[in-house]
Symmetry: C2
Subunit: 142 residues, 2 copies
DNA sequence: GAAACGCGTGAAAGTGACTTTCACTCTCAG
DNA sequence: CTGAGAGTGAAAGTCACTTTCACGCGTTTC
């Protein structure tokens, strides 16, 4: 799945993404949907492809990519670090309280509901985050 | 482990909960529904009522109260620290990306949906967290 | 009562995820 | 070629939170 060139095709006039940032983008993208990488994991993978790359570069890259809307940042309560995933269809997350595994869950708050809430409270809603917690199939057995 | 605390609000005259934990509970409780206090804020309030109380005691107390299900812990992406609120009806949270204010929002994932998701994926769901992000009424004007 | 026990306590040090700083390097328009 | 600005890596800093530990207070057990 070569999405990598859509980036430049989408807006060729846009300033080129620095190659390290591009590398980080590729790593997250290639992790695939449903995978959730921590900055440390991304750094490890990046090191193999570009020895000498710094930790701070990875953080900076993730920050930039997040701001550009190219990757999605995810904070899950109970998880020690943030995780990053490719942009995909809206979904919720499930975290197992025992093993800490994070799974994608196909759920989104109905847009009708969002509109109603926004109208009622007088705010605008840009994004939503839904996280479930419980015990995953594997841990439930024990 | 014997649970010696009966913390029913109907009988506050029987505080078997260590007094510092009770103090912390009272502070969160008195903050009222819809308020969200950080440990630092709670510590400040606690200091006024019981000079000399330690930071660690506040953290320990919150941890205990959370485990006992007496207060609710809330991690909001973008907010630097966790916040605590009294136990109340299930609701979602809204955070303004500009001023950082956190508001309660009356929304909960339908229990029918929860059951369906749990059955489909083979996990059990103990809790859910829904957070919206956007611009609040005040900040939208500017 | 007195001794024994255990939970609660506060200060301080530790941890770990991120962030900032800074001197250096690379890139590229002019 | 050249200079300005963006990017970079190492290291130090920040900050929320956790752990440790010696002490103390209250309760239990003679």
């Amino acid at each position: 799945m070569k999405v990598t060139f859509t980036l430049s095709r989408r807006n060729p006039a846009e300033p080129k993404l620095p190659k390290n940032y591009r590398l980080i983008y590729d790593i997250v993208e290639q992790s695939g949907l449903g995978r959730h990488l921590t900055p440390a994991q991304i750094y490890t993978k990046a090191l193999k492809r570009r020895p000498g790359i710094g930790f701070s570069t990875v953080y900076r890259g993730l920050e930039r990519l997040r701001d550009l809307g190219l990757v999605s940042e995810l904070h899950v309560p109970g998880a020690e670090a943030a995780t990053y995933e490719p942009i995909g269809p809206k979904h919720a997350h499930f975290r197992c309280r025992d093993c800490g595994a994070i799974e994608d869950v196909p759920y989104a708050v109905p847009s009708r509901t969002l509109k109603a809430l926004a109208a009622e409270h007088g705010f605008t809603i840009d994004s939503e985050r839904v996280t479930f917690e419980g015990r995953c199939a594997d841990c439930a057995v024990t």
